[in-house]
């Protein structure tokens, strides 16, 4: 069964949200952020009981499989947070921006990485 709709041109946040909802039908939260404004780098946060008991990569493969025809040619980058409801309650909702300032090399330093003890 293939229930994917093709984006007419560049993917929009709305199109991404509707496709994520098809891939994870019981999602209780779906947040899509266009990371660059270019409609080709997206952050996707999905919260679902579907992810209970699954390791991180199998969770992502549900979404990567759904978008397989679009990655990487249409969607160049997709940063994923696939969370169980329990994880979502503890998550700060922070969104990683890979190109906060495209004009500067300074963008490539200063990423906030927390050790387990700091959380």
């Amino acid at each position: 069964m293939d229930n994917r709709d093709s984006p007419s041109k560049m993917p929009t946040v709305e199109w991404m949200e509707s496709e994520v909802a098809k891939a994870v039908p019981d999602a209780e939260q779906i947040v899509v952020v266009d990371l660059t404004g270019g409609q080709d780098h997206f952050h996707v946060r999905v919260v679902s009981v579907t992810f209970d008991g699954m390791r991180p990569l199998p969770r992502q493969r549900i979404l990567l499989g759904h978008f397989r025809d679009y990655i990487p040619n249409v969607i160049h980058a997709i940063d994923l947070k696939c969370l169980t409801p329990e994880q979502a309650a503890a998550d700060d909702g922070e969104v990683f921006h890979p190109h906060p300032n495209r004009r500067s090399d300074a963008e490539l330093v200063g990423i906030n990485i927390r050790s387990k003890e700091e959380i």
């Binding site: 991180p56 990569l57 992502q60 990567l64 397989r68 990655i71 990487p72 980058a77 997709i78 940063d79 994923l80 947070k81 990683f96 921006h97 890979p98 190109h99 906060p100 963008e107 490539l108 330093v109 990423i111 990485i113 927390r114 050790s115 387990k116 959380i119």
Partner: protein, 113 residues
């Protein structure tokens, strides 16, 4: 040494089999060419143990070959104990949860047997 590297599945299997941490990235940890690759390299550097990084921009054959071999569509890709864990989002998540450190400790135990 890398000049006779042909990105064949057998060679890639050997690369990730011989090294407990391998990062396929755009650029190098010192000069990353993508924010996601930079994030992955910084996570691995935070582990405080050596890792192998492979600049997949160094050869036009690299991205299609690695992505087909690993069945994963984007870069960077991180392998731990020969197993693909995912990209920089998963590496960070597993670092923050401690799962990445646990995987490496288990790999060390096995290699000492």
């Amino acid at each position: 040494m890398m000049s006779d590297f042909e990105w064949q599945p057998k060679q890639l299997d050997e690369l990730v089999g011989k090294n407990s941490i391998v990062l396929f990235m755009k650029g190098t940890p010192e000069t990353p060419q993508c924010g996601f690759s930079n994030r992955a390299a910084q996570v691995l550097q935070s582990l405080g143990q050596p890792f192998v990084s492979v600049d997949i921009l160094s050869d036009p054959r690299a991205i299609p070959a690695v992505c087909e071999w690993s069945d994963f569509p984007t870069m960077p890709q991180i392998f731990v104990n020969g197993e693909l864990i995912g990209g920089s989002d998963i590496a960070l998540e597993m670092y923050e949860s401690g799962e990445l450190q646990e995987m490496l400790a288990e790999g060390d135990d096995k290699s000492e047997d």
